[in-house]
Every structure is written in C-alpha cells, then in structure tokens.
C-alpha cells in the first residue's frame, strides 16, 4: 500500500476547498488574499491555478525516487515506504539544495524567518498510518482529488481514459515523470497548457548524480596507489643518495 493522489483536473471547479483544508490542517493562516495567491509558498503548501476556464493544482509530486531526498546532505528529506516524502526539520541546516534539485519547483523556504525551514506538502503523512484520505481529498466536493493506493489509482485513471477518450488528453502525468511520482494527474489538454512541466526526465534524477558519485571509492584507492607510486619514482635520486651515504 503506497499512498498516492489522483488529481483529475477535468473535474476541478477551482473552489479552493483543498487549499483551505490543507492550511487549516497544517496550522497555516488562510484567507481570501492568500487564496488568491496562485503559487505555493512557505505559507501555502498547495495552490489552485487558473488557466482560462481550466484549473490545476500544484503540490509536492512525492516522486518515487525523489531528487530532494537524494541531494539532502543530512537526510532531512526522506521518501517513506508509505509513500509521502517527509521533512525532518530538526536535521535541516538550511542549504536549500533540495529546492535547487526539485524539477517541479516544490520545496519553499521561510525567507523572512530568522531560523527558516523548508515547507512542502507531506501527503498528510500523519494520516497515512490509519490510511485516512489526505485533507485535500477529503475536502474536495467534486472528487477531482482522491487519495489511495498508487496502483489502484493508476488503474482508476486508465479506466477513466478508456471510458471517455474524447474527454481526456491520452496520458497520465506522473507515471514516468522523474521516474514516477505518487501524485497522478489527468487533463483534458496537453499538460503544459495547465502549468505542468513536460520536459521532465523520464528516469529518476538521482541516477544522474550517482553516475559520478559511484566512482569515489575507486578514485580514493586508485589515487592513493598512483600518487604513492609517483612519489616513489620521483624520489629515486634521494633514495640512491641515501644508500650511498650522501646527505
């Protein structure tokens, strides 16, 4: 059971109930002014965005192999077996590499705090043990956002595409983006038209880093042998002098 979200943007009416439920659940302020901000920030972990007559949601995609968790030097971000990518503030030293690494631009920062933390959606990880729905899914009046098991949600999304091929753009966003995400999205139009990046790599991003990092043990061992060897060769003159008793 890997927790996930299916957001069907064709059913979204832009009522922002998900935003409000999220902010209330996370003890963040919420009013009309904050509701009108169409981007995520340290005080708004999910945002409904307007694209003409269509709406889309921005929230953490909860990648299966998240870049943010791989780059964090202190493992303050971790992908849990239950699905959510969670943040452990007591570890964070504030390097913001997670923000640089995220291809979806998700982690946000408390820029005006003296001791700032990273803020992002955690897929209501507190509700994961009891398998309760996320706050946004619970609040959604139309069923545009539903939460559940990733495999079941993929099956559900495929069913919707098959039953109503005219109503949908024939792809599920999140199956292969960044190697797969725990947030899946359906749309009536190509995804870039409702604000989702489409030039996202189809493989998990940490692989790009690992391709270089994996060589480190070899560099250490080979480097030591090579440098020691060069030192031995280059100091031959001194060695001969020592053997011949010269200073």
């Amino acid at each position: 059971m890997a927790r996930a979200i299916l957001f069907d943007s064709t059913q979204c009416i832009g009522c922002r109930q998900c935003e409000q439920a999220c902010s209330e659940g996370k003890n963040l302020p919420y009013d009309e002014k904050i509701g009108a901000e169409e981007k995520t920030s340290a005080h708004k972990l999910t945002a409904v965005r307007t694209h003409g007559e269509r709406y889309s949601r921005k929230l953490c995609m909860h990648c299966l192999d998240p870049a943010c968790a791989s780059v964090c030097p202190v493992a303050a971000l971790q992908k849990t077996a239950a699905g959510p990518v969670v943040y452990l503030p007591e570890r964070c030293m504030g390097c913001r590499y997670c923000m640089v690494s995220c291809v979806f631009g998700v982690p946000t920062y408390e820029w005006n705090s003296r001791l700032p933390y990273v803020r992002k959606c955690d897929l209501c990880a507190d509700r994961a043990p009891k398998n309760e729905p996320t706050r946004c899914a619970e609040a959604c009046p139309t069923g545009a956002t539903i939460s559940g098991d990733r495999d079941e949600l993929i099956a559900e999304a495929k069913k919707r595409l098959a039953e109503n091929p005219e109503g949908y753009y024939p792809r599920i966003y999140g199956i292969e983006e960044a190697g797969g995400t725990s947030v899946l999205i359906l749309s009536a139009v190509p995804f870039e038209q409702i604000g989702y990046p489409v030039n996202v790599e189809k493989t998990a991003l940490p692989q790009y880093t690992w391709a270089a990092l994996k060589h480190i043990p070899d560099v250490v061992v080979m480097g030591t042998v090579l440098l020691g060897g060069i030192h031995w060769l280059a100091h031959r003159k001194e060695e001969v002098a020592r053997k011949e008793g010269r200073p």
Partner: protein, 391 residues
C-alpha cells in the same frame, strides 16, 4: 597629494567595505535571508554559493596543486611557492566556511552532515571532504608556525607524516573540486546545455588545477610588490607554460563535449546565455594563446594581465553554471542585493588582509632549503634573465 591618496586608498576602501558588510551582517541575522538577499523560492542559490563557495574553493586549489607538484612529483624548483599556496588555500577554505555561515539557514548546524549521513548526496560528500581537507591544510601549514617558534621535536614528527598528509590532501581535493561540478548534475533539463554535461565534475577538476596555478602566479606577483621581494621570474614563466597547456586541455574537452552533445547549436538562440558563454571562453582562451607566445612570457605585466584574465574567466564559468545557466528554467532573473555583494567583498578583503598579516609575521616566504642552482634559482627580474631562465 597623490602619494597620500595612494597610501590611504586601499585602507579607506577596506573600512568602507567592512562597515557595509557589518550592516549587511546585521540584516542577515536579524531580518533573515529574505531581508538580506534577492533569493526566492524560484532562485534559492545566489552569489554566496556561486561566488563565495564555488569560486572560493576553486581559487584555493593552489594548495593541492603545488603540494602535489613539489612533494609527490618532486619538482623542487616550485618549492618557493608551496607555502604561500598552502596559506592561500587554508585561508580560502576558512573563508568559504564563513560564507556558508551567512548562506545556511541554520548556520550553527553546519556540523550536521558529519553525524547525519546521506551517502547519495553530493553535498554530503563535499561537506566531509572540505572538513577533512581544511584539517589537512592546517597540518600542512603547521610546520610554518612550528618553525617560527622553533619547536624542533614537533617539526620532526610533522616531517615523518608529511607524505600521507599530502596524498590525503590531493585525493580529498580531487574529490571535492570535481564534486562541486557534480552538484549540478541533478538538473539535466534545467541547467542550460552550454553548461550541463555529465563531464561537469571532470571539467571542474581540470579548471581548478589551472586556477590553482594561476592564483599562485597572482599572489607571487602581489607578494613581491608588497614585501619588496624579487619575483621568481623563471619559475613564473614555467608556470604560465603549464597553465597554457592545462587550459588548452580544458578548452579542448569543453568543446569536444559541447559538439558531441550537439549543444553548440544553442548558440543560435538569442539570449544572455550565448554572450556569457562567449565571455567565459574568451577570458580563458586569450590568456592561453598569450602564454603560448614567448613574447608574453617575457613581459611581467603581460603575464600578470593574462593571469587576471584567466581568473576572471574561471569566475565567469562558475557564475554561469550557478546563475546564468539556471535563470531561464527558473523563470526569474537574479541579481544580487547590495548586502550580498558587501558580504562577498568583505570576505575577499579579509582574505587579502589576513594573508598579508600571516606573510608578515610567519616564515611563509623563507625557504627551508636552498633550491638547487640552475633548476629553480632563476630569481631574475630582468627581461634577459627571464628569457634565459624561463624558456
């Protein structure tokens, strides 16, 4: 009047920078990063990372380059410049840590990577390498202090462990100089193709080695002026030759990589990127061509200008990777706030000031042994001497 102005210009500038930086420091720690920087959720790294850390570590590469040249490759003629290079490196790394104290959201947690491990993280590896290497640099510089206070027993102990320390220093430097490039491997579609390449770590390493040499020439020049020493001109000439060759290797690899990836076609696209790319390449290629010419190498001012040009090219490259190349994908343009610039200038100024003090009070420029005649002597400032010894 001119004399007076000349004498006080740098001091007054130093005081102005320090006062501005003091106020910027107050803003940073009282108002937070929001009040003191132009950073945003879309652009979370600015010049405190792009310049202070990326360039700072690169400019301190002379420490391991010269330590390897003299202690591993046993090229004795470089002996005279090892100590200043190691001092520059040690100061450089300490100043990088100071810069991190400004940039980190929770600076007092800078030690966290030492106990909270994530071996998949490049930043984790850089953190460990920089910590260990700063310790190594301290040990490499320690004999200078021991000599000053005539602690001969301790000196003997240090001599016995020199080789493992030097080897550790070279390997740690190789790892983190390259890893600073690996930091950006995680953004293949967002860092502009003129800069993103799987070879980032290799390119960062090679350019750091060249920069280590360039910085050593740069500081030899300045210390010879400041302390009235004669310039080891024969040595400097030989170093510019090496610098030219390493830069040639670097630029060749850079262009082969660009052409293999088909990235050169992006030069047709309008925008800031192609101009900044051009600037970076020109600032490196021109000094390289200059140093291949005998006439330049014989001319101290031309050598100095070439080295400064190369160093600016290196800085341009690091700033392009960390700022220019990312702006388009981030959808915002970033330029540093005055307080970011003030702190950066203060860190550079502090570096110059501490180097001057250390070089004044510690035997940085005195040699333990006489360099063998003919091989490294060459302390001849005249043009004829340079021609004879350098080439």
């Amino acid at each position: 009047m001119m004399d007076l102005a000349k004498r006080y210009f740098w001091r007054v500038l130093f005081v102005i920078i320090m006062v501005a930086a003091a106020y910027a420091t107050f803003l940073r720690f009282w108002g937070g990063l929001g009040a003191s920087t132009n950073l945003s959720d879309q652009f979370p790294w600015g010049i405190w990372i792009g310049f202070d850390v990326l360039c700072g570590v690169g400019l301190a590469a002379g420490g391991f380059t010269l330590a390897a040249t003299v202690h591993i490759f046993n090229i004795k003629s470089y002996h005279a410049v090892v100590r200043p290079a190691i001092l520059t490196a040690f100061l450089g790394y300490l100043l990088v840590v100071v810069a991190l104290m400004f940039d980190l959201g929770h600076p007092y947690r800078i030690w966290h990577p030492l106990i909270m491990w994530n071996p998949r993280s490049v930043m984790f590896e850089v953190g460990w390498c920089v910590t260990l290497y700063t310790t190594v640099l301290f040990l490499e510089f320690l004999p200078v202090v021991l000599e000053k206070f005539k602690l001969h027993t301790a000196l003997k102990v240090m001599k016995a462990v020199t080789l493992p320390i030097i080897i550790a220093g070279v390997i740690l430097s190789t790892l983190h100089q390259s890893s600073l490039g690996s930091l950006f491997l995680i953004m293949p579609n967002r860092l502009h193709p003129l800069w993103w390449t799987p070879l980032l770590p290799v390119l960062f390493f090679i350019s750091a080695v060249a920069t280590g040499l360039a910085m050593t020439i740069f500081e030899s020049w300045h210390s010879s002026k400041a302390f009235g020493r004669q310039l080891e001109y024969g040595l400097i000439c030989r170093m510019t030759r090496v610098l030219a060759v390493i830069t040639a290797v670097y630029l060749t690899m850079r262009f082969m990589d660009l052409s293999h990836r088909g990235a050169l076609s992006t030069l047709n696209q309008p925008g800031l990127e192609r101009w900044m790319f051009g600037l970076e390449i020109v600032l490196m290629a021109v000094p390289m061509l200059m140093f291949f010419r005998e006439k330049t190498r014989q001319h101290p001012v031309a050598v100095y200008l070439g080295v400064v040009m190369y160093l600016l090219g290196f800085v341009a490259n690091r700033m392009n990777v960390s700022v220019t190349g990312i702006e388009r994908a981030a959808g915002v343009s970033y330029s540093p706030k005055w307080s970011e610039i003030a702190v950066t200038l203060a860190i550079i100024a502090a570096g110059f000031a501490i180097f001057k003090l250390a070089a004044h009070y510690l035997p940085v420029f005195e040699e333990e042994h006489e360099t063998p005649a003919g091989e490294g002597g060459g302390r001849i400032p005249t043009l004829e001497g340079a021609a004879a010894h350098g080439d």
